[in-house]
Every structure is written in C-alpha cells, then in structure tokens.
Symmetry: C2
C-alpha cells in the first residue's frame, strides 16, 4: 500500500497551505519550491483540489491558492480520495454466482478498504498538522542528542 506521487504532492502542498491558514494566497510556484515539487505537475493537482472544493484560487498577478475552509473542517479522507482520482472503477456486480475464490477476494478487499477508510476519515487536516509538529519537534530534538 502506497500513496501515489500525485497524492503525496497534493498533500504536501495542502499541508503548507494549512500552516499558513488563514493568510493570503500562495502561488503554485512558491509551494513547489518550498517542498521541492515539480511545478507544472503541482499546478494540475492544485487545480483538481480547487475543483473539489478544497482550495480557492485567484488568478492573475498577486493570485494563488488558499484553503477554502479551516483545516479543522477538512477531512484528510475526502482530500485523498479526490487526489487518488480513483474514478471508482467499482466492481460491477457480476451476473450469476461468484466462485469461492472471488468471494474471498471480495471479502478481503472490503475489509481492507474499510480499514483504510477508517484511518483516513477519522483524521482532519488540523489533527494531521498537530501530529506533524509533534514529529517535527522530535526530529529537532534528535539533532541535539
């Protein structure tokens, strides 16, 4: 199990934006620079997030992106589902009877998806930020040992 680069980059940009919230607009280029992400790719990702209602944007000189809502009201689950793009290639219910192996695979997939969703849906962007600052603190400390 691994998040795609697209998801990773999107998340990293959003984390940046959340840290700045509710300040003014930040440009894609700056976001890309401060997390060292490919700019053009990031642009496409940010655009998708705007369409998904997670970001607001302002075009033109002095424009950029910012969160559309406070971090406390943004679910990491929704965010990631949008990023993964998974256009829900949902298993179309097969006609007729399933083979035993197919049932097993189905059951397992359902269990895994449920576990995955639980982790993601129980987490807001605000909470994630908190975890990050804790972990960041530890990281700092380690340099002084």
């Amino acid at each position: 199990m691994r998040l795609s680069k697209r998801t990773e980059y999107g998340l990293r940009a959003v984390v940046q934006l959340a840290k700045l919230w509710p300040n003014d607009y930040v440009q894609s280029r700056d976001l890309a620079k401060s997390e060292t992400l490919p700019n053009k790719f990031l642009e496409a990702i940010l655009l998708a997030l705007r369409r998904g209602g997670f970001l607001e944007s302002k075009v033109g000189s002095g424009g950029g992106y910012r969160l559309a809502r406070p971090p406390r009201e943004i679910s990491v689950g929704e965010l990631i589902r949008r990023l993964e793009g998974r256009l829900t290639v949902m298993d179309i219910a097969k006609p007729g009877e399933l083979l035993p192996g197919e049932i097993a695979v189905h059951l397992l997939n359902d269990k895994l998806t449920a576990a995955y969703d639980k982790v993601l849906d129980d987490l807001t962007l605000e909470q994630l930020l908190e975890l990050v600052s804790k972990a960041g603190g530890l990281q700092q400390q380690m340099y002084y040992i």
Copy 2:
C-alpha cells in the same frame, strides 16, 4: 487500494487448495480452469508460493500442488505479502531534515500500513474460508427469494 491481479489469482488458487485440504495434489491447469484464471500466469504465481513455503509441489505425471500446512496455520497476511512481491522499497531514511509535508506523508503512510497489516495479520486462511462459506450461503439464499 486494490489487490493486484497477481495477488487476486494467487489467493483464489489458494482458497481452492484450502477447500481440498488435506487431499492430494491438484494441478495448476485444474485450478486455473475452476476459477477461470490464465494458466501460465497462475503457474508462475504458484511457483512463487511454493518458494515462499506456502505450497508443496510434485512434478511429473500425477503431480500438482497442495498446501504445505493446514489452513489454520497460514496467515493471509504473509500470503499476500508474498504475492504482492513488495520487495520492500522501503523509504530509505533521508539525510538531513524532513520538510513538513514529507513528515505528514510519512505519518499517513505509517497509519495506513498499520491498519492494512492489522486486517491481514488477524486473519488465517481457515477463517477466510469460513467467511467465504457464510457469504456463499447467503448468495445461494438470495436466489430463492
């Protein structure tokens, strides 16, 4: 999150073998036929499972595969980890300090992996079989409503 075909096929074959346990050897061709899987691909998968210690095989006429251990002693987690092939492209610890976004991605990946592993490691092949037969029963019932 979705299991690969390789994993799916391997699991389906193993489910078949578990249903027959502790009977005699079953041939790849028969396994492929009864779950409608591509035979040559399945062969490669079964081979990997044998190398992983999940199956025993006998070559030559009258040969085939069978589980190396009773289903109760086979963990679905171990099985799937072998199937996924994940040659543990583990994040090599980056030198220096992590960016906040990177920390967030890391945290999330860890949480997701833990949840995933928990589901898989808490399940034996025997238990999975039981779930399948329950679900299969329900499926049968639905036809008679």
